[in-house]
Symmetry: C2
Subunit: 308 residues, 2 copies
């Protein structure tokens, strides 16, 4: 059974009788959960786990592991159009190695400085290296970017370029001293400013962690729509674009939908933030997901990263 369906089946209805009394408005199924903090704003909560050998390489420095695992978690807030507030960490590690902890601490500091949020707590336990980062953000009431609001005929966009993080990962695996694309893998950006800029512009958004096509399908499934995507339009930095490259994940760019009449504002936003925003296709009412090749023939979109 599909991972997302399994989670839906076994985790979507736990204590749901108590959602209303605790002001929780969007439960499981989006990038994050929303809780009314007061009459003007909502809190946005997300938690994300990074595991050695699965989500990051064992050869990476403690500093890079710390930084990357935090950015990856914060990326979910970007996809919701939220302002980051603070974070906490559950860190499982094999031993209390002071040198390692020192590096790890530096990586956290770098992350905290860049996104201007404090670490407010956590837990340390002994075991194989596993890092769960919980992030809290806020949005003005009713301004959250959800996965579920894409509608037929809206345009589909993607930020930045797709696949560089994957190229960086391959390089790191083969030659840890390579410097070509490794930064794209080691130091992804949480597109916070873009998420904030997309409020009132985008109708739905998601961050690309498991692969562009697979993550876009989550928008389609949540919104009850389909999509037509043009392979040639997908922005990559490599000339010989492949499905593998596009489906590789780890990009942490945003994929979003918007009404066609917002195109000028989106182009303007792209210039303001100096982030490429590329139109790659269109939402359809068909529930079908079609990827067209350069001759406009349907391709098999294959699939992105499977967690299990």
């Amino acid at each position: 059974m599909d991972e997302h369906l399994l989670i839906q089946k076994y985790f979507s209805d736990i204590g749901s009788a108590f959602l209303a009394e605790h002001n929780v408005e969007v439960p499981i199924g989006d990038d994050a959960s929303f809780v009314s903090a007061n009459s003007n704003s909502q809190q946005v909560n997300s938690i994300d786990t990074s595991i050695e050998g699965v989500h990051f390489l064992a050869t990476m420095t403690a500093e890079d592991i710390a930084y990357r695992s935090c950015v990856v978690a914060l990326s979910d807030l970007a996809a919701c159009g939220a302002r980051p507030q603070w974070y906490s960490i559950a860190l499982t590690l094999p031993e209390l190695d002071e040198d390692w902890l020192k590096g790890y601490s530096s990586g956290l500091k770098k992350f905290s400085e860049e996104y201007r949020i404090p670490l407010i707590g956590g837990d340390t336990t002994k075991g194989s290296l596993t890092i769960s980062v919980q992030v809290m953000g806020e949005v003005d009431k009713g301004k959250t970017l959800l996965r579920s609001k894409a509608k037929a005929d809206q345009l589909i966009f993607v930020s930045g370029v797709i696949g560089d993080a994957y190229l960086g990962l391959i390089e790191l695996q083969n030659d840890p001293k390579s410097e070509k694309n490794v930064n794209s893998y080691l130091y992804p950006k949480a597109r916070i400013d873009l998420g904030l800029g997309l409020i009132d512009l985008a109708t739905a958004a998601i961050d690309i962690s498991d692969g562009l096509i697979q993550d876009l399908e989550l928008i389609c499934n949540a919104s009850g729509v389909g999509a037509e995507i043009y392979f040639e339009k997908i922005p990559t930095s490599k000339n010989n674009k492949t499905l593998e490259l596009i489906n590789s994940g780890d990009d942490y760019e945003l994929c979003f939908t918007a009404d066609e009449d917002k195109l000028d504002q989106i182009i303007k936003l792209s210039k303001t933030l100096n982030i490429p925003l590329t139109e790659i296709g269109r939402i359809t009412s068909s529930r079908e997901f079609i990827l067209y090749d350069k001759d406009l023939k349907p391709m098999n979109p294959a699939s992105g990263y499977k967690h299990f």
Copy 2:
């Protein structure tokens, strides 16, 4: 180096320049962190990891694993005098076994029903069984129970009985079908009602996870005080009381301090909640921690659970 000092050294000052602007009032070092939600209340956030073979037995059912890992996390809110609001889970598991997930889901439901809070989100990843539970609660402004407010001459209390969970763990390890004390290990209680009752009564509180003496020492260290404890007064259900029993941890009872003139109210609270609250000693100004045996001779208090 001591685990608590290491964590203090490497995690206590990450992004602290941004605490104030995000209304975070008590950072790392207590059972939880406090964030001003509005002018009347504070949010209380905590995260706690349970690992197979370390924090629970591999032989336990998925339902029991789910329930226990959540209660253990919620116990930190009890120690802060907080009302639980919601929780999220980062679940790392070796495979998507539907039977296991079904049992796990039942355990979460049992927990949610008992404490009347919803699961609002989470993350699932593949790896060795590791469960991080993030809990969010609230307190009226200024009413949090901290570790740091114990003062000389105040009385020290402990709730319930100490050591039954440890006896249950031993039984489970030796004879999984034993029924004598296993429930104390499998189904601890988060002392939420007690924590709420202790607001304005207790001066400092902690939940006993790593052993009564070790956890009480955390109160002493945070408050800059010492303590005199009477071994004979420590409530256990077993006649041959041992240091091992008292230091075993896993009790999730509350240890707290209070001014002597609150004794009558504490006795009344004990009756109202039907929870034994036993006076076991007194806070001193000496910074020394002394455990007296039945002949009032100092004993070596030994130590509780070490995480590394």
